[in-house]
Amino acid sequence: MSWLKGFFNSSIGRKFIMALTGLFLILFLTEHMIANLLLILPDNGVIYNQYSHFMVTFPLIRVVEILLFASIIFHIIYALVLTYRNRQARPVKYAVRKPGENSSWVSRNMGFLGLILFIFLAIHLAGFFAKARITHDLGMVTINGVEMHDVYSLVKAKFEIWWFDLIYIIGFIALGAHLWHGFYSSFRTLGLRHPKYLPLFKGIGIFISVIIPLGFAVVPIYFLINSLS
């Protein structure tokens, strides 16, 4: 199995891990964003709470959740390893640099954007995931005779705080910038070079990097505006 070890220790193999985990996370984000839109239905959270209950009780979702956390961990670990090796490759820096003349800011700052997203993720998981899944520090509600967590009320209470919304908006902007380069870049890392399909994937990348953060941003903005009126 030395070929397998050789692959995952190679530069291209490491990039392959970054691309695959990144794309899986984008798939998750798409699902997460669409499901979040259930929060703005005018039903006081009945459908959203039922959806949340389904997600924590359906066994297949448990398996996918493990895959999701593994992807996040591997994406971070490999990012650190690759960044460390890239820094090592240029121990003496140039005195004069004009990187803006040959590449985009986003493409050069994926690590920085990743750091912002990591901080955001920590705040996000502490605010929702930890309460709903670990400490069970939230109210209960009974819908159609089934007792379940009232996630809707937790979300509503959190998003009525303006500075909490601000953190989320900053996080979504960082996410959009990260995806702008990340989606297209991962397909190129995976070896896609077809002259007909590559521009298509560039277009899809731009589309999702706008639509996913916008879709996410709708929810905090909705709750904030509702609390004001």
Binding site: W3, G6, F16, A89, R90, K93, K98, E101, S107, S185
Partner: protein, 253 residues
């Protein structure tokens, strides 16, 4: 033209370097950048000082020897040219120009602006060739090559191995160079027979030399004096996956 030059000076790979400032008062705008350095060196020799060491050979933009990082850009701001084909008319009278050597761990400074680019030679030796048995040549028309393949191979073959891609890349990655060599040979029927060994061995050698990893910023293709495209890197990725995951051929470590 009056030019102020800030040039990296370093006595040996071990010693610390510094910038030296030179003022040149009689620079002709038709001179190439290297000719400007010739004038500077003549002046230094006459003053009894050590001239600035720099790499150069053909001065026609095809050998890949010249390698100066000029005002924050490899081979200067002029696109599609090597340093020897960069002319002083692209600068303004009174400009201050900062000249540095390529910066990458695998390319240590030998002296001043001269760096050791032998890692590229070792990468080529690892698989950037076609094994040909001796004997009389066969008729050229007996091996059919599609025009599109021949064009793509030729485009990749125009890489002169100067290392500007490494110098430009924020990660000091050599993937544009390596991918150009792989694409050049693996596109053609003569090179296809060794494509698995080539992809595995060249990528392995590239990693062993300590170059960084591609993050698809695209800086390399902007700075490449020969217009080598970043799509070669994506092709190399596919070629490497094919060699590792698909091919039954085993390449010894």
């Amino acid at each position: 033209m009056k030019i102020t030059l800030k040039v990296w000076r370093q006595e040996s790979p071990e010693e610390k370097g510094r910038f030296d400032t030179f003022k040149l008062d009689h620079i002709d705008s038709h001179m190439s950048f290297l000719e400007m350095f010739d004038v500077l060196n003549q002046q230094l020799i006459e003053e009894g000082k050590r001239p600035v060491e720099f790499d150069h050979d053909c001065r026609e933009g095809i050998c890949g020897m010249c390698s100066m990082y000029i005002n924050g850009r490899p081979h200067g701001a002029q696109s599609g040219t090597t340093t020897c084909q960069l002319h002083m008319r692209h600068f303004k009278d009174g400009d201050t120009i900062v000249v540095e050597p390529w910066r990458a761990r695998p390319f240590p400074v030998i002296k001043d602006l001269v760096v050791d680019r032998s890692p590229f030679d070792r990468i080529i030796a690892a698989g950037g060739y076609v094994s040909v048995n001796t004997g009389s040549p066969q008729d050229a028309n007996s091996i059919l090559v599609k025009k599109s393949d021949s064009d793509a191979a030729f485009d990749a073959a125009s890489c002169i191995g100067c290392g500007a891609c490494v110098a430009a890349c924020k990660n000091a990655s050599a993937m544009l160079f390596v991918s150009a060599k792989i694409e050049h040979l693996s596109r053609l029927p003569q090179g296809k027979t060794e494509r698995v060994r080539r992809a595995v061995n060249m990528v392995r050698q590239m990693d062993m030399e300590g170059f960084g990893n591609c993050t698809n910023t695209g800086a390399c293709e902007v700075e490449c004096p020969k217009g080598i495209k970043i799509k070669n890197i994506h092709k190399m990725n596919a070629e490497f996956f094919r060699a590792v995951w698909v091919s039954s051929e085993e390449v010894e470590a």
